[in-house]
């Protein structure tokens, strides 16, 4: 057990190194000379050369990577060319929006998916199962940004119930905050919800067909107990893995959702950074999100054997 935990924890190190190399290479290959950008377009070549030396841009690429990675490890991810705030400051403010959005979306997804998935697995082929499958298939295919725009049209433009965009922080009170977040969370959570539902339905079907479920029924347990104690416990375990994978999609999806709803989160920050060529910020955020994603999946893998003692521990294979 301890060996597995250690091995799995150490296995993220090469991945994280690879991620950082990739992000560094992106900043390295971005067209345009950062020294020229800092100096301005009418600077003399001497000034540009001075700046290049001062920032270490004339050193070999592996030295520059080492310097960059070392400062990133210390939490220094550079600063914006424009606002001159550090990347961590920018991310710190924006992450409040994004984390709340992702968690709300996850909550909505789970609250819809778990009962729906279980109900359709309990009565496969029933009208509810067919309807849920059809709706799930639709949810899988709907573009999140279009869903967002349509939600804005129905609830903000037509019914005038909710604001069309913008963010109300929690300091404005819980109700205004939730009013500004509910539509984005639905738009973001729909895709994850359908994924959860399909997955849960499949694993519930498997568990309900297992011998121990039959035994539980045969010894006369009430159906509810069979479902909750015997079936759901086992069906929900693989769900944790899906949860981890979906967290990554949610983090990526926030870029689109925040753009649709004009929310000042990390997604909008990184998108604007790219569109404004503010590359330090973009690279810093990409590095942070990729690292977060790797760590979430590590956490999932570490929790898994605790939840399910049956899993074969050892060197995990590449094919998951």
């Amino acid at each position: 057990m301890a060996k597995y935990l250690l091995w799995r924890s150490l296995s993220v190190v090469p991945t994280l190194v690879g991620v950082s190399v990739l992000v560094f290479l992106i900043t390295y290959f971005i067209p345009g000379d950062p020294a020229q950008i800092m100096a301005g377009s009418d600077a003399t070549p001497d000034v540009v050369a001075g700046l290049r030396h001062q920032w270490g841009l004339d050193r070999p690429i592996y030295v520059r990577y080492a310097v960059w990675a070392a400062s990133a490890l210390r939490g220094n991810l550079g600063e914006s060319y424009f606002s001159h705030m550090t990347v961590l400051q920018l991310v710190g403010t924006a992450s409040r929006v994004t984390v709340e959005l992702a968690l709300l979306a996850l909550l909505i997804a789970v609250v819809i998916a778990v009962p729906a998935g279980i109900a359709s697995a309990v009565r496969p082929g029933s009208w509810f199962d067919l309807a849920a499958t059809a709706v799930g298939f639709g949810g899988l295919s709907i573009p999140g940004f279009w869903l967002g725009i349509m939600l804005i049209y129905v609830f903000s433009v037509y019914l005038r119930w909710l604001p069309a965009g913008g963010f109300a922080p929690l300091s404005d009170g819980l109700v205004p905050n939730l009013r500004s977040m509910i539509l984005p969370a639905i738009a973001l959570g729909t895709f994850a919800s359908t994924q959860f539902m399909r997955y849960l339905r499949a694993s519930m079907l498997e568990v309900l067909g297992a011998d121990y479920t039959r035994t539980a029924r045969a010894k006369g347990l009430p159906e509810l107990l069979v479902l909750v104690r015997h079936a759901m416990r086992n069906a929900l375990i693989p769900f944790v893995t899906v949860l981890g994978v979906q967290m990554g999609y949610l983090l990526g999806g926030t870029v689109i959702t925040e753009s649709v709803f004009a929310l000042p989160g990390i997604g909008r920050l990184v998108l604007n950074a790219i569109l404004n060529r503010d590359y330090q910020v973009a690279a810093g955020i990409i590095l942070l999100i990729a690292t977060a994603f790797v760590l979430v999946n590590l956490a999932v893998d570490l929790v898994y054997p605790v939840l399910d003692p049956r899993v074969r521990l050892g060197r995990p294979t590449l094919s998951q």
Binding site: P14, T15, G18, V19, L22, V23, I26, F29, I30, P31, P124, G125, D129, T133, F137, G138, L140, S141, I142, P143, G144, F145, W146, I149, M150, I152, Y153, V157, Y158, A164, R198, A202, L205, E206, G209, G248, Y249, L251, G252, G253, V255, I256, S259, V260, G267, V270, L271, I274, L275, Y279, A282, A283, I286, I289, A290, F293, V294, L318, S319, Q320
Partner: protein, 303 residues
């Protein structure tokens, strides 16, 4: 087709029945696989509409009628006009070309490079396998949208960046599936036999092993296609892909959202088109999975 069987036929009673049987069989086959049939038909119809855009649209996608901006649908313009008085239907038909072309390119690129990587790593193993595996882990660490943003940072906005981003994001799936399949097949007798008769390694990989993976790879391609369409439109919507005034579904949606108040239909149609295309591609993928991969449980029906 409706020609009567010749009177001089040797078996006049059996001939028409034999002739009808393939059609009947095909209909029955398609009826049992309705999701695959409907999906394929819808995708084919959309491809035809994209190919015949110039003929179907009635007017070019870039002609402006400044006296008829944001017209409602079902008037002189079937799906109305946009903020420059351009015909929405025409722009959508021409936009379908770009979306289909870019998604096809992305999926093919991912399928070819991904399965080549998976086949070779699975076959050779060793240090090459672990190195490639690490690199794929790194690619997996980036959510698709972020990968797109990173590639756009280097190459600049545009469809080539989008194709590359989608391909890079779907490549790991192809690599993993083909790698694990080849590891399972590598030690089988028929591969040993190919070795024994002295077949060269590339021949063994391509002609002996690859045919056994075609089923799962085709399923991955069709499901990957659905994702590719979704992300192609998303990237253009974000301003990272096709740029205005190119007729493209994501670009249209991006400009339509400023006119949600005056012209909600303008935002409705391009998104509905994306939805229909992705939905049909998912139907095809699901149907193909039931057809080609009988080991997996069907998703639509109880087992």
């Amino acid at each position: 087709m409706s020609a009567a069987p010749p009177a001089s036929a040797a078996a006049p009673v059996n001939a028409p029945a034999r002739r009808r049987r393939p059609v009947q069989r095909a209909v029955r086959w398609a009826g049992r696989r309705w999701s695959l049939t409907i999906g394929l038909a819808a995708v084919a119809a959309l491809c035809c509409a994209a190919l015949g855009a110039g003929w179907l649209a009635g007017q070019p996608p870039d002609v402006q009628h400044m006296d008829a901006t944001l017209q409602p649908p079902f008037g002189r313009h079937l799906l109305g006009t946009d903020e420059y008085g351009r015909d929405v239907l025409s722009r959508m038909l021409f936009g379908a070309r770009l979306t289909l072309l870019a998604s096809t390119a992305a999926v093919l690129l991912a399928a070819v490079t991904g399965s080549a990587l998976g086949l070779t790593t699975g076959y050779f193993g060793g240090a090459y396998d672990s190195l490639a595996g690490r690199m794929i882990d790194v690619l997996f660490a980036f959510p698709v949208v972020l990968l797109g943003i990173a590639i756009v940072a280097v190459l600049g906005p545009g469809e080539p960046s989008v194709v590359l981003a989608i391909a890079a994001a779907s490549l790991p799936n192809f690599a993993r599936v083909s790698r694990s399949a080849i590891i399972a097949e590598r030690e089988r007798e028929y591969v040993m036999a190919a070795h024994a008769i002295g077949a060269p390694v590339p021949y063994i990989i391509v002609r002996t092993l690859l045919p056994n993976l075609i089923g799962p790879l085709i399923v991955l391609v069709s499901l990957g296609f659905a994702y590719a369409v979704l992300y192609e439109a998303s990237f253009s919507f974000l301003g990272l892909g096709a740029q205005p005034p190119t007729p493209e579904w994501g670009v249209m949606l991006s400009s339509a959202r400023s006119y949600l108040f005056q012209a909600p239909w303008y935002a409705f149609f391009p998104g509905a088109a994306i939805f229909v295309l992705v939905f049909s591609l998912n139907l095809v993928g699901d149907g193909l999975r039931d057809l080609l991969d009988p080991r997996r449980p069907t998703s639509g029906r109880p087992p």
